[in-house]
């Protein structure tokens, strides 16, 4: 009994302390921004880093004098990898904390969960992770890669440079891999790849026994044509997958794997010696040779007080999103949502690969696509870099969305304009 009372008391105290923490800084001379990333639960592994990156960006901006002469103040909440809780916390950030903009979410499920909240309360979300496309909202900016900024260039690279003719599309069973694989399959078939040369395979979240699938891939690869694996396997399941590949002796020279969810952070928990040569496609790698990147890495190491902490692509996306917002606010002279939404389109800010990224009318940004090969030290060697690509929200390779475009400039202001029927709204024919 006494224990129960204590436990209950502790939980209550914890709950109180989080609200108290947020309530304590209600000064008017600051601009508040929300940071909506899971700090506990399964997604904490990826999202905690982004929270740190956001806090670093805010600190750096304040050193430069803040925005509009006011200091920025980050309000951090923890939605605990729980999708409905994301919506609740987003509502709290906008209604109670009155934040000017929110930076956050990782999984598509969490983004879909908060989307109606942002539209209803008319606030702004910057979403920093690569995603499957097929969405456009007036209130969301997608600074991560759309499929045409990651998946399609990667497949092109394998087909042209490595001569791949047979494809395994392996992914975790949820919306991002499913949609991406649908787009990739349509794309490959439009390039003349036959149905029997494509193998699609889905596994549950956190799958850890890859023996059967790896040996299936081996068998699929023994048909006499050059084979590659396109992996949309998510998060934690990657480590056992790569371990199994290494142990079964599948080398990158024989069957290369190109991954869209594996970056420096994911490789940090892995001995990468057996993986040398497997590929990843991103818009940024820590190994990018550019002064702006060297500066960013230095700041990051100083901020985290750990010079082994790696940087990764979603951090770059957060960096671009944050700087674009700052620039738009300064151009508009206010943090008012409607005015920022108008002023941010066309804003160009430096990205970390040495170029600039521009916010497009479809709320996606331009950035180059980099293909990297895994090295023994857990970093990537960049083997190809494309010119900047505009993110395409509605894929041109899916029959449902090929006629749709999105343009949030006035007077069109439409997220799904159908160029075939000339009307806003609704799916294609």
């Amino acid at each position: 009994m006494s224990f129960k009372a204590k436990l209950g008391g502790a939980l209550l105290a914890a709950a109180l302390s989080t609200t108290a923490f947020h309530g304590a800084f209600a000064a008017d001379d600051t601009i508040k921004i929300g940071v909506l990333h899971s700090l506990s639960g399964t997604m904490a592994i990826s999202e905690t880093t982004l929270k740190d990156a956001m806090l670093m960006l805010v600190e750096e901006q304040n050193k430069k004098g803040g925005v509009l002469g006011k200091k920025l103040e980050a309000v951090v909440v923890d939605p605990a990898s729980d999708w409905p809780l994301f919506a609740e916390k987003a509502r709290q950030l906008i209604s109670q904390d009155k934040v000017a903009a929110v930076f956050g979410c990782w999984t598509s499920s969490s983004r879909k969960s908060v989307l109606p909240v942002f539209e209803e309360l008319n606030s702004i979300l910057f979403y920093p992770v690569q995603y499957e496309g097929e969405e456009s909202s007036r209130n969301i900016f997608y600074t991560g890669a759309a499929p045409n900024q990651q998946a399609i260039p990667a497949v092109d690279y394998l087909a042209s440079t490595e001569g791949v003719e047979r494809w395994v599309l392996a992914g975790t069973d949820y919306v991002y891999p499913q949609t991406t694989n649908k787009i990739l399959k349509a794309y490959l078939m439009s390039k003349g790849v036959k149905e029997e040369d494509i193998m699609v395979n889905y596994t549950p979240f956190g799958h850890s026994d890859w023996q059967t699938i790896v040996s299936d891939i081996k068998k699929f690869g023994s048909a006499g044509k050059k084979t590659a694996v396109v992996s949309t396997i998510n998060g934690d399941a990657n480590v056992p997958f790569y371990k199994e590949l290494g142990n079964q002796g599948i080398k990158a020279e024989d069957i290369p794997v190109v991954a869209f969810s594996v970056g420096e952070e994911e490789l940090a928990g892995l001995d990468t010696t057996p993986l040398v040569g497997h590929l990843a496609a991103w818009n940024y790698f820590q190994s990018v040779d550019a002064p702006v990147n060297a500066e960013f890495i230095k700041t990051w190491h100083a901020y985290t007080k750990n010079d082994k902490r790696v940087t990764n692509d979603p951090m770059e996306a957060a960096y671009i999103g944050f700087n674009a917002w700052v620039k738009a606010v300064e151009a508009a002279g206010t943090t008012d949502t409607d005015e920022v939404l108008d002023s941010i389109i066309g804003v160009a800010v430096p990205n970390l690969s040495g170029g600039t990224s521009t916010v497009m009318p479809n709320h996606h940004i331009t950035k180059p696509v980099l293909i990297g090969e895994i090295q023994a030290d857990g970093q990537f060697d960049i083997v190809q870099e494309t010119p900047a690509v505009v993110g395409d929200e509605w894929s041109d390779y899916l029959p449902d969305s090929k006629d749709l475009i999105s343009d949030w400039r006035k007077p069109m202001s439409c997220g799904n304009f159908n160029v075939a029927t000339g009307k806003c709204g609704g799916k294609g024919s």
């Binding site: 440079t161 001569g163 549950p204 023996q211 023994s222 006499g224 371990k243 020279e253 940090a268 040398v276």
Partner: protein, 534 residues
């Protein structure tokens, strides 16, 4: 592109094999790599190999491993190895040291998969006649992996001189795959198909790749060979599924065996069980960190050292949990469930705060890495050792339970607490020690699971459901039930997976268990007698 390139190397190599010393110096070719793009580098590798100079082999190896650099000051190319904070430069041809430089003074020459393939093929040609047996073997392997008609003469020249039985057999196979795409006679090709059909899965790729271009009179032989490999494969597939099933079963057994004690024997619904596994894995990480810092030579022993450490750490944590929380809640299963769930969250967040939310790198000792072929299947060492390990733990635990005084006390307390107490057994201590034992065993399971899964704060969560499933399915309170339950669930899963996919397979297994529990609520091996009613 690659084919044309390989053709080039082998054409030149074939002539080099007959007239060895051409007198061309590979050194300037290496130096040109400094400014070359990937395609140019590929041509250069071909030209380097074409000099036929065996001294270039170490430098080409270094190139493929990303250890080739050029000096920024004069663009001279060296292979390099790390020497403290500096790099020691080594001349790519003579192999002599060229002094040490700071890492910033040199630039790495990039290598991609195409280049690595090209280097592998070039090395295959260069080392076929190497005096080192291992080098000849891997040279034959390299040709097996990228067959080309041009390698044929080289292989035959090497074959004529080869005396070692195993290398000879491998070269025969390499000769056969190379012959298939050459313009040799039909009879020779027929014999080659015969040889390849003994190669199993790797031969299938070769046969399939020539099936469209081969002489029509050989087509029946080819199809027969393909069919015979596929038939043999099917049998091996069956064996492979059983093996994979046992392997999955052994992982389930490892995860569940500690729970078989805390939940099965003591009846505590222990939601913090997964976190004990996680703590075991983190103990392994800590042990490896200490070894890496202080005694890298002991790394292969790290798991052996981690076992007692993990057992003690998690046993102690288990002891504290039992004394601090669970003992107040005996006989109140719902409250135990909630309390242990709370403990599991606290432990997770504590680890997250101490070590950070990201994965920690736990290395595989050399004896846990790689695989060996057994007939038509590939057996990986880590899975094999985990099967051995889990069975060892199982039987050790069985011994403790059935043959020691402590095991007797434990069984007495769980079967009839008041009677045992009247006989003078200190039941609270037995409870605490039993819970500590179950936790400790979960900890050593964590040592093994750190070898195949992520070491992150979430490690335990992925195993908790599976563990309960195994214990309930096998029969609560029965260790043998846990063994049989784990293995049969593993094998069932692996037989379902190839036909219905991993996602549906998992669902089907769950549905089957639910149906089974309807029929036999107490699991496979139900306890009988009065203990059940208590």
């Amino acid at each position: 592109m690659l084919i044309r390139f390989i053709t080039l190397i082998f054409l030149v190599l074939a002539s080099a094999a007959t007239s060895f010393a051409q007198g061309s110096d590979p050194k300037p070719l290496f130096d040109q790599l400094a400014d070359a793009n990937f395609n140019q580098a590929e041509t250069l590798v071909g030209q380097i190999a074409a000099t036929g100079d065996p001294r270039v082999v170490p430098a080409l190896n270094a190139f493929s491993e990303g250890d080739l650099y050029f000096r920024k000051s004069d663009k001279a190319v060296f292979s390099a190895k790390s020497a403290g904070s500096q790099l020691e430069l080594i001349d790519p041809v003579t192999g002599e040291s060229a002094g040490q430089v700071a890492k910033g003074a040199v630039t790495k020459i990039k290598v991609n998969n195409n280049l690595r393939r090209a280097i592998r093929a070039a090395l295959g040609g260069l080392t076929l006649m190497s005096p080192d047996r291992g080098a000849r073997l891997s040279a034959a392997d390299a040709i097996l992996r990228s067959p080309s008609a041009e390698a044929l003469e080289l292989v035959e020249a090497a074959l004529a001189k080869e005396t070692d039985g195993e290398v000879k057999a491998r070269m025969e196979e390499a000769r056969a795959v190379s012959l298939l795409s050459s313009d040799r006679s039909i009879d020779e090709k027929r014999a080659a198909i015969e040889t390849i059909s003994g190669l199993g899965a790797s031969g299938l790729g070769v046969l399939n790749s020539v099936s469209s271009s081969i002489d029509p009179s050989l087509k029946p032989d080819l199809d027969k060979a393909i069919a015979s490999i596929q038939n043999a494969q099917q049998l091996w597939n069956l064996a492979q599924n059983v093996w994979y099933g046992m392997s999955l079963g052994s992982v389930l057994l490892l995860a569940a065996i500690g729970l078989a004690i805390t939940f099965g024997v003591m009846g505590i619904i222990n939601m913090a069980h997964g976190e004990m596994v996680m703590l075991g894995a983190y103990s392994t990480f800590m042990v490896q960190e200490v070894i890496r810092e202080n005694a890298p030579s002991l790394f292969d022993w790290s798991l052996a050292i981690a076992l007692p450490v993990a057992f003690l750490v998690t046993g102690l944590v288990g002891f504290v949990i039992e004394r601090g929380v669970i003992r107040f809640l005996y006989g109140r299963p719902l409250e135990t469930l909630l309390a242990t769930w709370g403990v599991s969250l606290i432990l997770q967040q504590a680890i997250r705060t101490i070590f950070g939310p990201t994965n920690q790198e736990v290395g595989n000792p050399s004896w846990m890495s790689g695989s060996f072929p057994l007939g038509g299947m590939t057996i990986t060492y880590n899975r094999m050792w985990i099967i051995v390990f889990s069975l060892t733990i199982f039987f050790a635990l069985l011994f403790v339970m059935k043959k020691t005084a402590y095991g007797l006390n434990m069984r007495a307390v769980t079967q009839n607490r008041r009677m045992a107490s009247s006989m003078g057994i200190r039941t609270p201590w037995v409870d605490a020690l039993t819970f500590a034992l179950g936790s400790g065993i979960a900890g050593i399971a964590g040592v093994a699971l750190s070898q195949i899964d992520n070491v992150s704060p979430n490690l335990g969560q992925s195993y908790i459901i599976d563990s309960f499933m195994v214990v309930v399915f096998g029969g609560v309170g029965n260790l043998w039930g846990t063994l049989v339950g784990a293995l049969s669930l593993g094998i069932l899963n692996k037989f379902l997976e190839p036909s219905v996919g991993a996602v549906l397979g998992k669902i089907l297994v769950l549905v089957l268990i639910i149906l089974f529990i309807q029929k036999r609520p107490r699991g496979l091996f139900a306890l009988k007698g009065r203990a059940v009613e208590a």
